[in-house]
Amino acid sequence: MSREPEKFSIWFFIGSLILIYGILILAAGIRVAIFPPAAPVVLAHLHAGIWWGALLIVFGGTYAYLFRPTKRGQ
């Protein structure tokens, strides 16, 4: 196949979306930690939103960086 590959790799796209989700979830987790709701979820003291959001930021950020548009391939 001689055609040029896509300018944006699918992995860059997925990484960016996960990065954005990670930022939103981390922010929501911090907010819940500061202002706990009246009816918290089970295991709320583990602050899953904070560390899951951070994990998504690392995972998504790594993918977005490794497959940024200057690098080619799927």
């Binding site: 196949m1 699918i10 989700y21 939103l24 929501a28 819940v32 089970v42």
Partner: protein
Amino acid sequence: MPNPDCILLLQAAPRHLIELAPVDLIIIIIYFVAVLAVGFYLKSRAETGEDFFLAGREMSAWIAGLSFLSANLGSLELMGWAAAAYEYGILAAHWYWIGAIPAMLFLAIVMLPFYYISKTHSVPGYLKLRFGEPSRALSAITFAFMTLLMSGINMYSMALVMKVVLGWNIHFSIWVSSITVAIYVALGGLRSAIFNEVLQFFLIWLGALLIPILGLIEAGGWTNLKAEIARNVGPSYTHLWSTLGSFSDNPMGIHWTGIVLGLGWVISFGYWTTDFLVVQRVLAAKDLRAAKMAPIIGAGFKMLVPFIVILPGLLALAVLPMKLTGEAAAVASGGHSYNEVLPLMLARYCGPGLLGLGITALIAGFMSGMAGNVTAFSTVWTYDIYRALIRKNASDEHYLSMGRWCTVVGILVSIGTAYLVMQFLSIMDYVQALFSFFIAPLFGTVLLGMLWKRCTGAGGFWGLLAGTVSSISLWLWVRLDPSALSIIALSSHAQDMAENMYRALWSWIVCVVVTVVVSLMTKAPEPLQLAGLVYGYSEVPSEGEMPLFKRPIFWAGVVLIGFIVLNIYFW
């Protein structure tokens, strides 16, 4: 292979389970924007029929593999099997392990070379090359018809789940999701569908993985979980094989022969090797090695899916304060049903943000399933019905245009089906059953076609027809006389699950016997006609010069070992 009971039982749920925060809605809206952006971005890449229907055959092994798995990983599947795990225990994991892994590896190593080397666009296309036009027409027409109906059922199911879980308006859910899928598939074709399926794969894992992690923390680990389940409902719920010696020893009412021969052999091999919805993703691979690796990669991840689907169902048996019941009892008592187990576990552990991600994963699952049905339909309609039977010699641009239009028309018909199902719920039950009629016999036909040189066109056609008719007949027999189940499943203790297994097995046997008998009575095909289509007459490129770790057979072996270890561990 979605669990059909889930849809019917959700119908009666009176209230919604989850309240979303603004951040959750933002996450869902971003998802819709993202999938549309993929469609618009990839529009310029769908310039030819090959681009639109087979993604230009440019997909890497990883993209084809994850898409291959995602096309099957719909939300109905996730919610239905989590409910089944609550109801039947770890036996539900059979649908992910013996009911998938051997078949996916068999597709990769044995069958795929014939699909790929023949350069067919579809499974009915292979039947045309191997058996002639009648077999293709029979397979294509039934597949196209059933695919659209299934798409409509999935659409209605999604809207129903959104209503039950979130309280969303059912018409809003149907139209917003359908228009979104229509736009991104009509613009970017299979490539757009595949890229969104890969995105969905990540969203499902990231949205659902937190439930088993937090659930195991709450339960105190696997050993404590097993002990708690044994106290609550009995020890048989955490054993995969040891209770299958008798129909009456396990919660599912099934025997190991049904699991191994019905599910593990006929249903699983039929679905994973001949259902064009999943096979189409593999045909889009860039070369034969990528095509063979794709199902192996898919199998590796499929093996892990029970940890986000079955485990939450088992955890619910231990940690939920209330007992879930069948839908009728739930409606009568105002409690919760089995089918609400996954949303209940999601709401139990996930606060704002995480809840949005979990719901996005469910929506993504539904939309990818719908897109999978529509792309498969548009390919089979355009190549195997329209080009084969209606207009044979049009230009590639014409067929490309037809593909785009029939994507839109397919979505509209699916919407019509969704509304039809809304009015006449029993249709859904029949369509689910109808779809299963074709899978088992088709596997018999394709398998003999690929592996037996003597198999003739007449044998293939009559075998497929006889197998399908026998499957329908057995289904009707049990509907008219429920006691017939004990004859079909060979036991008076057999329950509903066993019927599907044994019906598939019998219809496959009928298909194979008729195919063999008719083939032996008709003139053997010329060897020249079989080149590239049958084992023994096809030159499959050697992998001898590849390093071991690059060979598909090596990775298939790795996955197979993982599969065996899991089955022994959870024996």
